[in-house]
């Protein structure tokens, strides 16, 4: 999809004799919600798992998961990590998703983050990553909504 630049959108909004409705009509696809929807669609297409399997492995609520991928709800940093651990696509896509939501990337110098990075890069399941977190006295990922 061809995204309009933010600066262009801003200029359009400033046009004096233009109704908001016409702005809305012309730029439906430019809202963040749609960006997020497209983003999730593309990332999910690279994951061979069924959505319900991703949900169960990530231990997130069904409705919450669908709201996230439709761009309707903003996931916490931990929830993004849980979904990525579940999808098992490696570290890169997880860092990209965190960036998209303006969350800090997983940082190797932070102890808890380093364990999550280790889990993702070693294709560990959520419960295995949580076990490693617990072993190192770090808050676990599961049950954090």
């Amino acid at each position: 999809m061809d995204y309009k630049r933010t600066a262009d959108l801003l200029e359009q909004l400033k046009i004096q004799n233009k109704s908001y409705e016409s702005y809305l009509e012309e730029n439906q696809d430019s809202f963040i919600q749609n960006d997020l929807k497209d983003y999730w669609q593309s990332i999910l297409s690279t994951c061979p798992m069924k959505k319900t399997d991703i949900i169960n492995k990530a231990d997130v609520g069904y409705t919450f998961f669908y709201d996230i991928i439709k761009g309707k709800k903003i996931p916490s940093r931990d929830t993004i990590c849980k979904i990525h651990i579940s999808m098992n696509l490696g570290l890169e896509p997880c860092q990209n998703t965190l960036k998209l939501y303006n969350w800090a990337s997983l940082y190797p110098k932070n102890k808890r983050d380093s364990i999550i990075i280790y889990g993702i890069t070693h294709h560990m399941a959520l419960y295995e990553t949580d076990a490693l977190l617990k072993q190192n006295n770090q808050p676990q990922l599961a049950k954090m909504l």
Binding site: K50, T52, D53, I55, N56, K57, D59, V60, G61, Y62, T63, F64, K143, L145
Partner: protein, 244 residues
């Protein structure tokens, strides 16, 4: 189907015997299973209601007044919950038989409040407290079941509020646009206690004395006039049972 539900179904088939179906309609199927070797009994709920986040929060918690959720699984068409079987008779049946004393009524209400305390701590509002959803165990404990209508305080979508909950027990705000909070459950507890003691709705009649005062404070129309937390309610109920 999902991989995990296939696993659960297979395990139930190979290691458990189906004992009973409690309920089976368009929206929910509830079955009782028993392990073929050990005596353990399990309840499997298959529900169209997608509030699996509630059960995920409760999974693994052991509380004397709540069933233990063992597992939660999202499937394409429904939600699966595996929980402990609560042995006993429903409070509605005991009420019909007319064999609930005032002392027991207060004790059961305290038990229900203890269950609510744990739920509310986790931001979960039960929203369907009534005698049918309370099981009295052989040793006289009240256990609060049926989290089908439960939601988080932060769930701000109100569209389904009218269909859930039970008429009479639902607090006024459950019909409108207000969000469910602990006082929503506290209202239903007040209705419950009144039913248990004098077998009618508080809007019809309330007993005189200290218990009546407690019930009134639970069932105030204005949310802010009710008990705001179950802690306060438990304290008042315990004080009552100490002196009576």
């Amino acid at each position: 189907m999902s991989k995990y539900s296939e696993f659960i179904e297979k395990t139930l088939e190979s290691e458990y015997t189906h004992l009973q179906c409690f309920k089976n309609d368009d929206s929910i199927k509830i079955d009782l299973y028993k392990h073929t070797k050990i005596r353990k009994k399990l309840v499997l709920i298959r529900s169209k209601n997608r509030n699996d986040h509630i059960f995920r929060i409760l999974r693994g918690i052991n509380h004397p007044n709540l069933p233990t959720v063992f597992d939660v699984c999202a499937c394409d068409d429904y939600l699966m919950v595996l929980e402990s079987y609560v042995e006993g008779e429903s409070l509605s049946k005991l009420l019909q038989k007319g064999c609930v004393t005032k002392k027991q009524a207060v004790k059961y209400t305290i038990d229900v409040c203890e269950a609510l305390k744990t739920l509310h701590e986790k931001q979960i509002i039960h929203r369907d407290i009534k005698p049918e959803n309370i099981i009295i165990s052989p040793d006289g404990k009240a256990i609060l079941i049926d989290l089908q209508a439960a939601r988080l305080v932060t769930d701000t979508d109100h569209k389904d509020t009218i269909n859930l909950g039970t008429v009479g027990y639902a607090a006024p705000e459950q019909y409108g646009v207000h969000q469910s909070t602990p006082p929503t459950d506290i209202y239903a507890v007040g209705v419950l206690l009144n039913e248990l003691i004098i077998n009618c709705h508080p809007t019809v009649r309330i007993p005189s004395g200290k218990l009546g005062k407690i019930i009134s404070k639970c069932t105030e129309t204005q949310i802010y006039n009710r008990y705001q937390t179950v802690d306060k309610l438990i304290a008042d109920l315990k004080r009552y049972s100490f002196f009576h």
